[in-house]
């Protein structure tokens, strides 16, 4: 099989060439052909030609600097740091071999998401693990609550016996679990299974005592590191080893957790929460629009990355605390729908500036955007970041700002177009739709204007 690769390290001297050499040696041993373009201090050498690219099965990029990927659009591509190519070139080539050939948009998005997952480390990783376990509870619960409203009217919660009410309360139950789960799985990420107990208990205490989302977040970290400490310093004779996970760790950890939550964490954080909520609900007019614009821009800045997740988590947190419709959530979801929709629109209005493959992907992007899967824009952003990312940030910011300005609010954390028409899920629906459309058009126009013509 033939492969092409690009190696590049920031100083452009040693590692660029070592990686190239490593890949060439490995390919030779595996019986493959590989052409490696080096981007070192002397500039690009052994440049990959169109013919090379056509004959290649996949593209390997081993770089610690930004490599222009637009010429590889459409080819299966794997991107890693330079060290990885030096350490395990054979493994890298194998992974390149196993890349899916027909990269349709949804496959590309899936791959990018799992690559992103592997790169996370440390505090961020723990946080994201917790959030990723929490989100299905939020989404499932939220949609059920919306369904409950749809089937049973706005007073559905007054009953507990009708079908609609049951659905509603089930959703509420799922919702109620989101905060303990957040705490529990942050702790799990840090300390593995034993972390779950204090993490969830801490989270539950947080949700009951007003420190909410933030309290659970803090609780999760405290719980995780607490368990690590217990495991490190408490040593039992071998015969009592079994007692550790079943008795010692749970009891010790929850006692400390409870005391810490009760006497240290809950009060200040509950106060902070109330202040935050108060401030948010007091926001009107220009301030609200500004917040919406900022959140909107964040959603588009690094789709799937920490900034986007932070804005999204903020949105869901406001749902958890106040329970009813949240203007923040509305702005966040609307803004999150814009990037893929805008790109799809752009591929339609300026067909000539996109390759056939990109136009096909644009069709899929309509569906992804409508479903609030912001990541649908990632492959486009990855292949042409300097044009795509600023364009979508502008549109998403416009949408977020408009949504806040029009006082639109949303009761559910996900669902995109599919939840908009359920009664009581969105307030000021016509204005909400206008906000989304406005941002979409703005971004599409900007993007189409700056996109280069395909030669």
């Amino acid at each position: 099989m033939k492969f092409v690769a690009v190696t590049s390290c920031p100083t452009g001297i040693a590692h660029t060439y070592m990686a190239a050499e490593a890949l060439q040696m490995a390919a030779k041993e595996m019986g493959h052909e590989i052409k490696v373009e080096t981007q070192g201090s002397v500039g690009a050498e052994n440049v990959i030609t169109d013919k090379d690219l056509k004959e290649a099965r996949a593209v390997i990029i081993a770089a610690d600097t930004n490599v222009d990927k637009s010429r590889f659009a459409g080819k299966p591509l794997i991107e890693v740091g330079v060290q990885e190519a030096i350490k395990d070139p054979k493994g890298l080539i194998e992974r390149a071999m196993n890349l899916k050939q027909s990269s349709n948009l949804t496959d590309q998005v899936k791959e990018i998401k799992s690559e992103q997952k592997q790169k996370r480390t440390g505090i961020y990783k723990h946080l994201m693990t917790g959030v990723s376990y929490m989100i299905p509870f939020v989404v499932g619960g939220g949609i059920l609550i919306a369904l409950g409203f749809a089937l049973g009217g706005i007073y559905v919660f007054k009953s507990t016996t009708t079908v609609a009410a049951t659905i509603f309360w089930t959703g509420k139950a799922s919702f109620a679990l989101m905060i303990p789960i957040l705490g529990g799985y942050i702790a799990y990420s840090i300390a593995d299974r034993p972390g779950i107990v204090p993490g969830m208990v801490g989270g539950y205490l947080a949700s009951n005592n007003g420190s909410g989302f933030l309290g659970a977040l803090v609780a999760g970290f405290i719980a995780g590191y607490l368990v690590l400490l217990i495991k490190k310093y408490i040593r039992l004779p071998k015969s009592m080893d079994g007692l550790m996970p079943v008795l010692i760790i749970p009891v010790l950890s929850i006692i400390v957790m409870g005391l810490v939550m009760g006497f240290v964490i809950n009060q200040p954080l509950a106060y902070f929460n109330k202040a935050l909520m108060g401030w948010l609900s007091g926001l009107k007019g220009a301030n609200a629009a500004l917040l919406g614009a900022i959140l909107g821009g964040m959603m588009a800045l690094d789709m799937g990355g920490p900034v986007n997740k932070a804005a999204y988590a903020f949105g869901t947190a406001t749902l958890g605390s106040s329970g009813q419709l949240s203007p923040i959530m509305a702005a966040v979801m609307a803004a999150g729908m814009v990037p893929p929709l805008a790109i799809a629109l752009s591929t339609v209005i300026t067909k000539k500036k996109y390759t056939v493959a990109e136009r096909e992907a644009g069709k899929a992007a309509w569906a992804l955007g409508a479903s609030f899967i912001t990541e649908g824009a990632i492959p486009f952003a990855a292949s042409d970041p300097l044009r795509v990312i600023p364009s979508i940030i502008v549109g998403s910011a416009v949408t977020g700002g408009l949504s806040m300005m029009f006082n639109c609010a949303l009761a559910v954390p996900h669902g995109g177009i599919f939840v908009l028409f359920i009664p009581n899920v969105v307030s000021n629906l016509p204005q909400y739709i206008i906000s989304i459309l406005a941002g979409m058009v703005v971004s599409a126009v900007i993007l189409s204007a700056v996109k280069k013509n395909i030669e």
Partner: protein
Amino acid sequence: MSTKEMFSKERVNFDLKSNTKDEVIDELIDLLVKDGKVSDRDEFKKAVLKRETEFSTGIGMGIAIPHGKSNAVIEPSIAFGRSDKGIDYKSMDEKPAYLFFLIAVPEKSSDLHLKALSEISRRLMHSEVREQLTKAQTFEEFIKAFD
């Protein structure tokens, strides 16, 4: 000038005495100064250290490739040193360095040192080359690794 021509038997030391990164750079510069390839040791050392601050030249796998481009360099040349006990070089893989290549090029030499670096780096990826360099006792054995 080819990379091989930049080596010389006057500029190899198979038994470095240094214990630290700073000392070993000094020891290597000495080789170049004694051989008349570097006219001003302090100025050249400044160039080498400046380059170190950008990014450690301890590239891992027990190898370090400090280099400097300076007016104090009379002729492009490479000094090779080996420390069997290893020196903490703040390398990228956080392991000690045993093989050292100090590359010196004049200010006006365009990309010569880069070419040398790229060639050396490529060679060093081959474990047989690294082994030969680790075992060599004479210059002749050393230079064979670069055939």
